[in-house]
Assembly symmetry: C2
Homo-oligomer: 459 residues x 2
């Protein structure tokens, strides 16, 4: 966190235009720390600070910046400087940058690339969004089966400078088809004259470039790998993906899921850098949908206006009743959505889940129903607010709670299955959505129970 402590001093150096001292300070820092400092500076001081970073360190620091910050810095640079940076960026980071900017800007950036790098960039961008291809880098070590260990080590010496990792060496055939992955350990433990073929076990895992990034996470997790090769439909080696990129994918995914849970469209951008109106629009759309759904509660209540007029006491418990249904529904939905996302529960397990939730819902309903009844009984000892028929009112509330909590739990747990069955994202049946559904049906349950229990007395 060095960059937080020294930020004021750095800003003084910028104000004094003392780029020489600044460049000395930076030379002792890690690129990620310099990037952290740059991001903490006001936008107009960043180009000056960035220009003080010398040589390779500038390029390394640049890669640690967010794509939007990268784009902003590039805009203010000379063509030469921008071109130098873009050409040395690692291809996967460059893909992320080109994805971020407008098509026009991306075109301009492509023109700044060397013919070779442009070809690389174009190939990566040709893969669909959110596919493994967009994350991969073509900087890896590939060797042939008939090489010796000595030749492989020599090859690493000449070609290993840029490869993302040297942990795994890939063996390909003459057509660049992947035939094996061999851990560097085996080469280091072997004699120089050993053949590559002798180190091979012909067992390897690979990702398809067109595969979804989410499914790639599962492979990394299941097989505990730190790096995986990426192949095309014909089995040819295209590049590698490292697990640290997966950490970012997993984080983005969790954010998306959490935002859907919270009843809003995924922002796709950090909170503070999302333009205010765009954020309001993303929130408004869901709020309005939920509001339109909730309007049905007014309709449902309208049907029972007569009952409410005769027994106003019934109205007092409406918020308590519907929120209990909503809470138990969102609990169940949360559990099931997450379990589905992690693969702990599969579609075919719906019946197992239903039995568990039937039981859970009944127990939870009994607990809340009992508390609800007791609350009314205790209050009635000290006040007349619930009238002479307080016991019947308590019974109405208690029985309704059992029914509504049970129903909320079932609806919340089954909705994700139904959505998934029809190809929709279960996370969409977010808590507020379940709550809205359960609110409307909960009112009907409540007033129906009331009519049955209170007929002849209050109603």
């Amino acid at each position: 966190m060095i960059e937080k402590l020294l930020q004021p001093e750095i800003r003084d150096l910028i104000a004094a235009d003392d780029l020489e001292t600044l460049s000395e300070v930076f030379s002792d820092w890690l690129p990620a720390d310099i990037a952290g400092l740059l991001t903490s500076l006001p936008e107009d001081e960043r180009p000056q600070a960035f220009s003080a970073i010398q040589g390779d360190l500038a390029a390394e620091t640049f890669e640690y910046l967010d794509p939007s910050d990268q784009a902003w810095l590039l805009e203010g640079m000379t063509r030469e400087k921008a071109s130098a940076l873009l050409n040395v960026m690692s291809p996967d980071d460059r893909t992320a940058l080109l994805e971020e900017v407008s098509e026009e800007t991306a075109g301009e950036m492509m023109n700044l690339l060397s013919t070779e790098e442009r070809e690389v960039a174009r190939t990566l961008l040709d893969f669909p969004e959110n596919s493994v291809g967009r994350l991969m880098t073509p900087d890896y070590i590939a060797v042939l089966e008939d090489w010796t260990v000595r030749r492989v080590l020599d090859h690493i010496r000449t070609h290993g400078r840029n490869s993302e990792t040297l942990d795994v060496i890939y063996v390909v055939d003459a057509n660049n088809r992947l035939v094996d992955d061999v851990h560097i350990r085996k080469f280091l433990l072997a004699e120089f004259h050993t053949g590559v073929a002798d180190l091979m076990d012909n067992q390897f895992l690979a990702l398809r470039a067109t595969e979804d990034q989410e499914s790639a996470i599962d492979v990394f997790r299941k097989y505990d790998r730190t790096v995986l090769p990426v192949i095309d439909a014909r089995g040819r080696l295209l590049g590698i993906v490292t697990v640290d990129d997966m950490l970012d994918v997993a984080e983005e995914e969790a954010t998306e899921d959490i935002q859907k849970f919270g009843g809003l469209e995924a922002l796709d951008e950090p909170y503070v850098s999302t333009p205010l109106l765009r954020m309001v629009r993303k929130r408004a759309s869901w709020l309005v949908i939920l509001f339109l759904g909730e309007m049905l509660t007014a309709t449902a209540m309208g049907f029972f206006e007569g009952q409410i007029a005769r027994a106003v006491v019934l109205a007092l418990f409406v918020p308590l009743i519907i929120s209990s249904g909503g809470n138990s529904g969102s609990q169940a939905a949360t559990l099931i959505i997450r379990a589905l996302a992690l693969g702990e529960v599969k579609l075919r397990d719906w019946w197992l889940v239903m039995r568990r939730e039937l039981f859970s819902g009944l127990i939870l309903g009994l607990i809340l129903g009992t508390i609800g009844f007791l609350r009314i009984a205790v209050w009635s000892m000290f006040s007349q607010i619930y009238g002479p028929h307080w016991a019947l009112v308590g019974l109405t509330v208690g029985l309704s709670l059992i029914g509504i909590v049970l129903w909320g739990t079932l609806a919340g747990s089954m909705l994700p299955f139904i959505l998934k069955r029809f190809g929709a994202d279960p996370a969409t049946s977010s808590a507020p959505f379940v709550a809205t559904l359960v609110d409307v049906t909960g009112l009907i349950i409540y007033f129906t129970v009331a009519v049955l229990v209170l007929r002849g007395t209050l109603l």
Copy 2:
């Protein structure tokens, strides 16, 4: 997914007790796939299937099983077999297993370890739960500053067989204090007679063994590392942590956050393997707390019983009004909690957030308020349900919605800051909690607006 396709055939082999064929089949599989198959088998068939796995493959497969499945398999084994497995397990996986089982079982397992391995296991278990120390493995390569590259490569040849990764070599001093980390690439690119000191830049990152696992994720992410060294308070090298373990930590954390969002205590176990009663208890505690909170709505409604009796129409909109407050509150809370967790927003940004949310809440309130008013206006053209004063009723609902959505948005966005300020986990101010708070206050806003607008007409 080979294990899914062949599962029936495998079960036939188990039924026929043909362990020879089975062991041949397994010899072509990856350990993670065999582990996947074992988990998919009925529990009583697993020991037999496991016993068919030969040699090292058995130990490797064992490490891919969940700690609870590992414990179950060990129970049915002879002491010799169990001891052999436990002694060759990688120390970090063994720690996870010892954490999982009862203290008594853990003690028995410790007794099956060799003196050396027992020492290793004890050291790791001495670190606090959820600390980096529990994740680390002591299998790494450490070298001294005055060695040559040749000596390092020789050292790897003799000691590298078990190290988790060879990507990074650690340089320590005579007291085992970490002085640098050097990428294997540098050794592979250097001449044999080069000194280790010539390859060093004396810049390294390390985790403290007592550090929280969550904060370690942030370091991995910020600095894009695949492996990090772990040191004690005196800077001595204790072990290494690899990023694939972080993937699991990140996933568990996201699950925990999501479950807190859903208004329940974190389960800490997969949904299906959590005993039903334990799950109900975890869900009941929060549901009851929220229920007790929601009881205040009945109290609040009680204060306005007179108004409801005079204007029953007011009761019809209660669910609509309070759910809108709850939904906007949970949206805001979700956004802010996630932004705080990712470090996009800091405590000191509360004022910036408040201004954004004031604006957002006002716009969202205006949108919903307008829709609410229009709904009542349109309905009143076709029915008498809202009476002759429908315009005033519409005004009451519209104005209340503006106030409640604004208030819900502010409460939802500020509560996480307040909780964090007082050292609590912001995720606890989960959506249902905010909803409960906003429900009670929302009712007061609604009926207060009603009294002001409808005085002299309906009230």
